[in-house]
């Protein structure tokens, strides 16, 4: 239905384009040179007036129709039905009403539910038709208003360009809206979490056992939300990843910028970049399929027990994924060192290796550091590898051979499956998400600042 309405509006807008064009031509009786703007601008002006407000209306309508009808529906239930109901039970009742309305009945629903379902269907039909009527009349109103203004002197081009500019500004605002949406949604849900769980416990507690309260009134029974083991696990895995990626990335960048023949470089560099293009779910499966069993077998051979979901396996595979970040950012940093410094070093009789270690690397260090920080933020936020290859149970240890869990693993495991926003278990995911967002944001800002400052130094 909604699809058809949108399609109809688009067709209408296309039709009004030609209508506006024709009307402009007719206004000057075919002598187009008398028009201030070319006929297509008149057409575009009319089409924008027809299409934009009505389509926006439909979108806003869709976004709010569900919530409005739900609230009306709950309000229309006989008094007393809702007494003592939690939001979770209310939404359960709503979904029961909706499934009855859709004709899926598993057991004989109660009379109240049947009546409500009938009402729901009725309101849905009303809502759909009223949306259709309102949107169509808005479009026709737009057509009437805008096509009235068409005349030889009408500055249609200016009007159309102003509308276009407005659209472009709206589009660039989406970036801000997204950030705002992220911050607000994380903040609101996290605050709701901290309503139920003491922030002090969350940030400094040593015990992480987020279980769902099994029955009502069992406030966080058995659930402990001390996130220190989760943070420690995240850091451990990120550390292992960096320990793998930094030397490999840095040394390959040194080789590629300073030693490699341009032809070799042209082949190797894209191959390294390939590592960054592989989806992370593939790395996760690689860790489970190949790396973890290989490590386990190796451990058995030397008599060290290595857990199948050890931090080492997840971290090492994450390190492989991060290699290209470090290598390409170090590559840029080394290449950005001014030629004069290099030449000066050679002129003093330094070997290539001495020039690299004593001149280029110290000069490029801020850039490399920035790259490493960006890579750390990547490692902290990386999800699929750890979800598949790391542990779920929080384990406060720094032993890389044991399983640990991470912030992202907890977010995914807490939210996978059904999610109602009214228990601390799901809300905890948002609190963790907030911490993750702020941590990566801080790392990125610091890294970008270091890189920029360093670039200014040499420009």
């Amino acid at each position: 239905m909604i699809g058809y309405i949108l399609l109809l509006l688009i067709v209408l807008a296309a039709f009004s384009y030609f209508f506006g064009r024709k009307r402009a031509v007719r206004a000057v009786e075919g002598r187009e040179y008398l028009l201030h703007s070319r006929p297509n601008y008149h057409g575009a002006f009319v089409a924008a007036w027809v299409g934009i407000p009505s389509v926006l209306l439909v979108l806003v309508w869709i976004l709010f129709q569900g919530t409005v009808i739900d609230n009306l529906l709950l309000a229309s239930l006989p008094p007393g039905t809702m007494d003592g109901m939690s939001t979770g039970q209310a939404s359960l009742l709503l979904s029961e009403i909706k499934s009855v309305a859709a004709g899926n009945m598993f057991s004989e629903p109660s009379l109240v539910v049947q009546e409500a379902a009938a009402r729901y269907q009725h309101w849905q039909t009303i809502a759909r038709w009223s949306m259709f009527v309102v949107a169509l009349s808005l479009a026709l109103l737009g057509l009437a208003v805008s096509s009235r203004r068409i005349s030889a002197d009408f500055r249609a081009r200016h009007g159309a360009e102003r509308i276009l500019s407005g659209l472009m500004i709206a589009c660039s605002l989406i970036a801000i809206l997204t950030t705002l949406g992220i911050v607000l949604s994380l903040l609101i849900e996290a605050l709701r979490f901290f309503d139920r769980v003491n922030p002090f416990e969350f940030f400094f507690g040593l015990n992480w056992e987020p279980q769902i309260p099994i029955r009502e009134g069992q406030v966080t029974a058995g659930g402990a939300f001390g996130a220190i083991p989760v943070f420690a696990g995240t850091l451990l895995i990120a550390l292992i990843a960096m320990a793998v990626a930094t030397p490999i990335g840095l040394y390959s960048a040194i080789y590629l910028t300073e030693y490699a023949h341009p032809k070799v470089r042209a082949v190797i560099k894209p191959i390294l970049e390939l590592l960054a293009g592989i989806p992370t779910v593939v790395y996760g499966f690689f860790a489970v399929l190949t790396v973890a069993p290989a490590m386990r077998e190796f451990g058995e051979m030397i008599g060290v027990p290595i857990a199948p979901n050890s931090a080492l396996a997840a971290g090492a595979v994450m390190g492989i994924m991060i290699i290209p970040f470090i290598s390409s950012l170090s590559d840029d940093a080394i290449a950005a060192v001014p030629r004069a410094m290099r030449d000066g070093s050679y002129a003093m009789g330094a070997t290539k290796g001495e020039t690299i270690t004593k001149v280029l690397l110290p000069a490029a260090l801020p850039g490399i550091m920035g790259g490493v920080l960006l890579a750390v933020s990547r490692a902290i936020g990386e999800t699929m590898i750890v979800v598949m290859a790391a542990g779920i149970i929080a384990n406060l240890t720094m032993n890389p051979l044991e399983p640990v869990t991470t912030v992202t693993v907890q977010i995914v495991t807490l939210l996978i499956g059904d999610s109602e926003f009214d228990n601390p278990k799901t809300l905890a995911a948002f609190a963790l998400g907030l911490v993750l967002f702020l941590a990566t944001l801080a790392l990125n800002i610091i890294a970008l600042r270091i890189v920029r400052k360093y670039r200014e130094q040499y420009e």
């Binding site: 569900g66 659209l167 472009m168 500004i169 589009c171 660039s172 605002l173 989406i174 970036a175 997204t178 950030t179 992220i182 949604s185 994380l186 490999i248 040394y251 390959s252 040194i254 080789y255 590629l256 030693y259 490699a260 190797i268 191959i271 390294l272 590592l275 592989i278 989806p279 992370t280 779910v281 593939v282 790395y283 996760g284 499966f285 690689f286 399929l289 190949t290 290699i323 290539k352 290796g353 001495e354 902290i380 936020g381 999800t383 699929m384 979800v387 598949m388 992202t408 977010i411 995914v412 939210l415 996978i416 926003f421 998400g433 993750l436 967002f437 990566t440 944001l441 990125n444 800002i445």
Partner: protein
């Protein structure tokens, strides 16, 4: 450094001295070392990529073939009603066909032998008969997939027989052989071990009682004190403790003494002693199943055609029937939404920021925002989608529409950044010429700059789409990992899955056959990514202009 050395004139330095030569050699060695580290690092990185691809290809390629049985099936009119073919007794038909093809299956084995075929066999037959009603009363030959263990057996992925002994057990036996305790006794291989018959544990009887098994184990352990592995005791036959019991029964006087006892070894070890490699049947098969399966192979009923079902079937609980159609169409819908949203919005935002926006704090804020969004972890976008799109706007869970919206928020920064780079690459002379002949700023943009920048924009967009195709975590959070057993009800608002989340679900499945399917799904995903990137590269090369 002493002061006299420091004051020595430079000109007198002896560059030819051994010391100086050694120093130079050392410096160049350090240089070469650095170079070697670089080569090692690159070899490691490229090697990892190679291992990754090789392990995926080697596990995934077999899944592109599927073993099938071409079973002649008589569609018995007494079992299938021509009026209502969808409710026939197809399970019976399949069993009868199996019995006819391989005569002599014992009745009590019919169930286990039936498991050679996929559990969906009856439904495959039903679907065929429903779509070909004229086949009722005739004998049709239908290729039916075999169940996963037999599929893997036929492709040689898993062996029919396994080594009965682990390599550590073999090494224990070899050590015992070197100690000279392995003897042949009246045709039976035995271990001649000294046993201390502990009076605290053994009662003389008669009959003698006590834990003879522990006695046997302890005496074997005494020969290999460094081994802490219960597999060691697998060397002894089940009746080995009997050997001590008999000795005690024959002579109760040995209690409290240490006597040599001949312990028979277990049958596989006896074979090992004869120089053979002992084998047992893979525990996933029964002997009867193997007999029937071998008979099928002998009769030429088995085929391994290309596994089109991998692309055209939806998901299934049985690996041999599971396909990617649901995942591919789900990904397609989500990407379509993502493209329709992020392409126009991204271009509009980029054009505004690059060409029209005044330089002020507000536009600076937007730019900082876009750069930061590009670095936000993907799982956070999933949280946003969950809280805003599902929570506040009440859009349905698992829907490709929501998935596409979340993905479009993630690809927007990529597209905006690529578009701005493409716009910057259009030389100012084009703009100035257009402005010079009286075009408005918008006309310059729409008629000249944007068309010239379009190849670059498209390249960036395709790369962004490729990234979105591989994105998993945000889709998991909004539930786009539904189990989709049929592709009939696909739509923007229906529950769906996507390629990466399908890979995640299959990787989590306990069935062994899904390992191969997962790798195959990954190969399909990588194939799509390669195609998209190739299109991007060709676009760039075809339309790239040097100004």
């Amino acid at each position: 450094m002493s002061s006299s050395e420091a004051l020595r004139p430079v000109g007198t330095a002896d560059w030819a001295s051994d010391q100086a030569q050694r120093r130079v050699r050392r410096r160049y060695a350090a240089d070469r070392r650095l170079q070697a580290y670089g080569i090692i690092a690159i070899a490691l990185a490229v090697g990892m990529l190679g291992v990754l691809l090789a392990s995926l290809v080697s596990t995934g390629l077999p899944a592109f073939l599927q073993t099938k049985v071409e079973l002649p099936i008589y569609v018995d009119p007494s079992q299938v009603d021509a009026e209502d073919p969808s409710s026939g007794k197809y399970r019976v038909l399949v069993r009868e066909a199996l019995n006819k093809a391989i005569p002599g299956i014992p009745e009590d084995e019919e169930r286990s032998v039936g498991k050679i075929l996929t559990s969906d066999a009856a439904y495959i037959l039903r679907d065929y008969v429903v779509s070909h009603p004229d086949s009722i009363g005739k004998t049709i030959t239908l290729p039916i997939a075999v169940s996963d263990p037999f599929d893997q057996l036929h492709k040689g992925v898993i062996p029919k027989e396994m080594n009965a002994l682990t390599w550590s057990q073999v090494s224990y036996f070899e050590r015992l052989q070197n100690r000279g305790v392995v003897v042949e006794d009246s045709g039976r291989t035995s271990l001649k071990l000294d046993v201390y018959v502990n009076p605290a544990e053994i009662e003389a009887g008669p009959p003698p009682s006590g834990d003879f098994a522990a006695l046997a184990r302890n005496s074997l352990q005494a020969y290999l004190p460094d081994v802490f592995d219960s597999a060691l005791f697998g060397l002894l036959a089940d009746d080995a403790p009997e050997a001590i019991a008999q000795r005690v029964a024959a002579d109760p006087g040995i209690i409290g003494k240490t006597v040599p006892v001949l312990f028979p070894v277990s049958p596989p070890v006896a074979e090992l002693a004869k120089g053979k490699t002992p084998k047992v049947l893979n525990s996933r098969f029964t002997p009867e199943q193997i007999k029937v399966f071998d008979a099928m192979e002998d009769k030429g009923l088995l085929r391994t055609p290309f596994n089109w079902e991998l692309f055209f079937n939806a998901d299934s609980r049985f690996p041999e029937r599971a396909g990617l159609a649901g995942a591919i169409s789900g990904s397609f819908y989500a990407l379509m939404v993502c493209f329709l949203l992020s392409f126009p919005i991204g271009i509009a935002a980029a054009v505004y920021l690059e060409e029209f926006a005044p330089k002020n704090r507000f536009t600076d804020l937007i730019e900082v925002n876009i750069n930061n969004l590009a670095a936000v972890p993907s799982v956070v976008f999933g949280l946003l989608g969950l809280a805003v799109f599902l929570g506040y706007f009440g859009l349905p869970r698992s829907a490709p529409l929501v998935g596409g919206m979340v993905l479009s928020l993630m690809t927007l920064p990529t597209i905006i950044i690529a578009t701005r780079a493409a716009l910057k690459a259009v030389p100012p002379s084009i703009r100035e010429a257009a402005l010079g002949v009286g075009a408005s700023k918008h006309q310059v943009m729409m008629h000249h700059v944007l068309p010239l920048a379009l190849p670059g924009i498209l390249t960036g967009t395709i790369i962004g789409m490729a990234q979105a195709l591989g994105e998993t975590a945000p889709l998991l959070l909004i539930g786009m990992n539904a189990f989709i057993p049929s592709v009939e009800n696909m739509g923007l608002l229906e529950p769906a899955t996507s390629l990466p989340t399908q890979i995640f679900s299959w990787a989590d499945s306990p069935e062994r056959g899904f390992v191969s399917r997962t790798s195959a799904a990954i190969l399909v995903l990588l194939g799509f990514l390669v195609i998209m990137n190739l299109i991007a590269i060709t676009l760039r090369q075809m339309f790239q202009r040097k100004w």
